[in-house]
């Protein structure tokens, strides 16, 4: 397909299709992933083309989905599991944290668990409770898991390819409010390393770090800041575990200022880890403390409040201003 413009959801669909096509061991599992093609249509048409044996509608039980995916992985399969929404991953949390994350180490490396867990996450779509959460920190803290999130269709395509090829369990957070955003996808490109950050805009005065849905907001903030004469660099982290601290460090050593932006609550969020480690690495370079912009320490609010709750352009710019004011 070479270079094609497509929506992020479609890029995922194409990537899954390619994986099913090239590796007979790849399976898709989840609730409504079959005939319906998933509630976001990410698996649309896959069951039709690859059969019920490869694209599997499961009983409504997340622990069961992940637990059986582990068993299938032990048998040599590479299951790609869909959790329907962020807030529904917790029934599977025990299997993910206690089994999926630790079994490779437990077996002294003798078994591998190439399981991808896809989770549409984040807010901004006006949904009811449990459909807008950003629980990535709850997975990144757990050794044995890799935690990633694409911000655009091209990354969605390639990061999914790489996640499926990875012999480690990967928690793949899909920025659901970007599902319909289009970008060029080059299916013939050679992708960079899965866990490397990417500088998506260069700047000299301050570094903005974000991932998933917030990259777009940060790019808009950087553009707005430019109009006020501020040169803001934007880094798309792409991977929340491990984190490409080298890339962030290199940027901060140049700019001297860092603001981390995510939808998840700030308290104990990924911004804390980035702030702590970058402050340690760049202590003498920082002209201001690392600032964090994110959700509040409160349950994700009802839809009519999410615009206030979610970090938007203004809140990012406010943090940029505060940082530059040091």
């Amino acid at each position: 397909m070479a270079q094609v413009k497509m929506a992020l959801a479609k890029a995922l669909n194409e990537s899954l299709r390619k994986a099913l096509d090239t590796d007979p061991k790849v399976l898709i599992m989840g609730e409504d992933v079959g005939k319906l093609g998933g509630v976001f249509r990410v698996t649309d048409g896959l069951q039709k083309d690859f059969g019920e044996d490869r694209v599997i509608d499961t009983p409504l039980a997340e622990s069961g989905i992940v637990g059986t995916a582990i068993g299938l992985a032990l048998r040599g399969y590479r299951p790609v599991v869909e959790i329907q929404f962020d807030g529904f991953v917790f029934p599977a949390y025990d299997q993910i944290v206690t089994q999926l994350a630790k079994m490779h180490a437990r077996a002294l490396g003798k078994v591998k668990l190439p399981v991808v867990i896809r989770i549409p996450y984040g807010g901004g779509i006006g949904a009811v409770e449990h459909h807008s959460e950003s629980p990535e920190a709850l997975f990144a803290h757990v050794a044995g898991l890799k935690v990633i999130s694409p911000s655009n269709a091209s990354d969605a395509y390639w990061m999914m390819q790489q996640a499926i090829q990875s012999d480690d369990p990967v928690i793949f957070f899909e920025p659901k409010r970007r599902y319909w955003d289009k970008a060029e996808v080059d299916a013939e490109a050679i992708p960079g390393p899965l866990h490397s950050a990417r500088t998506v805009r260069s700047g000299t005065d301050l570094t903005l770090v974000a991932y998933g849905p917030m990259v777009k907001v940060c790019l808009e903030a950087a553009a707005a800041a430019e109009e006020e004469g501020r040169s803001v660099e934007v880094i798309d982290l792409r991977s929340m575990s491990p984190i490409d601290f080298d890339a962030v460090q290199a940027s901060v050593e140049r700019t001297g200022r860092l603001v981390v932006v995510h939808e998840a609550p700030v308290f104990y969020g990924s911004g804390a880890e980035i702030a702590a480690r970058i402050t340690e690495r760049c202590f003498y370079h920082l002209e201001a403390p690392v600032l964090r912009v994110g959700g509040y320490h409160a349950p994700y609010p009802p839809a009519r409040l999410e615009d206030e709750y979610l970090p938007g352009l203004d809140r990012v710019l406010d943090a940029v201003d505060r940082s530059l004011a040091y």
Binding site: E129, A303, R304, D318
Partner: protein, 386 residues
């Protein structure tokens, strides 16, 4: 064993020995176990175990409940289409299951619903407008659960079965003779939490009724993806009775649920009621069922419509006259208007509500974030915004 045998249909194709044969017979004989007191044509039939003798008033009451519930539901669907609600989960087709079971509850009983129990809420006296708050996005649940002993809607599938069990354990501890009823769907029956609720309720002999509305679909998945035998049979292996009732027969639902609640009150522990019904509409307004099910299926079920069948009975037995039906139509329209107006008038929540009720005893962290947020918002009011 062929490679495609992961398909849920497999068990039916499997040949097999004595056991398999025995199972097939059991599955077939399950249908006669369906408790029915009113045929789809509206004829009263008797059941040896579940008898009921409602007064004409009661019968008209049940009819009214179902009609108004359906009217409310239709209004909510319309409001969603008009953009007044973000989402709506319609109960269309499940009115009998909900009104029958809801009317079986006593005032001091306690109800733990999913997100679709609008009819049960109605029976409990919850203002239907309150149900719309979460679908409009102004709150996560707009009523005080203790006012009508009707817990908030629970979205995460199956969780409330355990809450109901714990609540019922508390009822026993209090020496009260109330009962508790937990609603969930066919899909939910697969969740570990529901099985654990079965275990706890059996071990503690808790006065709880598990009311499973098997509407035959969990979004796009038919019940075969959840079980290969009828769901009511699940209870037996946990040591309590299960019964399948015609979920489109309001009288049967009332009788069976009433019996189960009384059994709970008598200290005989839990019961599983499987109300065999049908989700006539989409899963929610976000869903498009034409993607995964045939129209004919729905059409077949329309012939079993719960409201039509009670109407046929009322009419054939001359238990309700034209005035009744006309007045009810008026009342319906009024209800629709009330809901429409009330929803449109529903105020958006105050921004600061984000920080309210995170903790009952407060938290320094929430206070700090609230203050920062307020200062940030104030900066715009001061005209300092970018």
């Amino acid at each position: 064993m062929t490679v495609d045998s992961t398909a849920a249909r497999k068990p039916r194709r499997s040949s097999g020995g004595k056991r398999a044969a025995a199972k097939k017979t059991a599955a077939k004989s399950a249908q006669p176990d369906l408790v029915q007191l009113l045929t789809p044509e509206g004829k009263r039939v008797e059941h040896p175990e579940y008898s009921i003798d409602p007064t004409p008033d009661e019968l008209r009451g049940l009819y009214r409940d179902m009609v108004l519930t359906r009217r409310f539901d239709a209004e909510a669907t319309a409001l969603q289409r008009q953009g007044e609600l973000g989402l709506w989960a319609s109960l269309l087709g499940q009115e009998a299951a909900q009104i029958g079971s809801g009317r079986a509850t006593r005032e001091d009983d306690y109800v733990f619903p999913t997100y679709r129990e609008h009819g049960v809420a109605w029976c409990r006296g919850v203002d239907p407008v309150n149900l719309l708050g979460m679908f409009r996005g102004v709150n996560h649940g707009g009523w005080d659960p203790n006012t009508n002993n009707f817990q908030l809607y629970t979205i995460v599938i199956g969780s409330q079965a355990l809450h109901a069990t714990g609540y019922a354990m508390g009822v026993t501890k209090d020496g009260a003779d109330s009962a508790v009823i937990a609603y969930f769907g066919d899909g939910a029956s697969s969740q570990g939490d529901v099985a654990e609720a079965f275990t706890f309720s059996a071990v503690y002999n808790a006065p709880v009724v598990f009311f499973c509305q098997n509407n035959q679909w969990a979004i796009s998945e038919p019940t075969e993806k959840q079980t290969r035998v009828p769901l009511y049979q699940r209870a037996q292996g946990f040591g309590f009775p299960g019964v399948r009732v015609d979920g489109n027969d309001v009288l049967a639902c009332l009788a069976v649920t009433r019996a189960a609640l009384e059994r709970a009150r008598r200290g005989e522990g839990p019961t599983l009621v499987e109300a065999f019904t049908y989700r006539m509409g989409a899963h929610t307004t976000s869903d498009d069922p034409t993607k995964y099910r045939r129209d004919e299926e729905r059409e077949a079920w329309e012939a079993k419509d719960p409201i039509q069948r009670l109407r046929a009975y009322l009419e054939s037995e001359k238990l309700a006259d034209d005035t009744f039906f006309t007045e009810l139509e008026d009342e319906s329209e009024k209800l629709g208007k009330h809901v429409r107006e009330a929803v449109r008038a529903m105020p958006d929540p105050d921004m600061m509500a984000i920080f309210e009720n995170v903790y009952a005893d407060g938290s320094a962290l929430v206070d700090e974030e609230r203050a920062q947020f307020a200062a940030y918002q104030a900066s715009f009011a001061d005209g300092e915004a970018k």
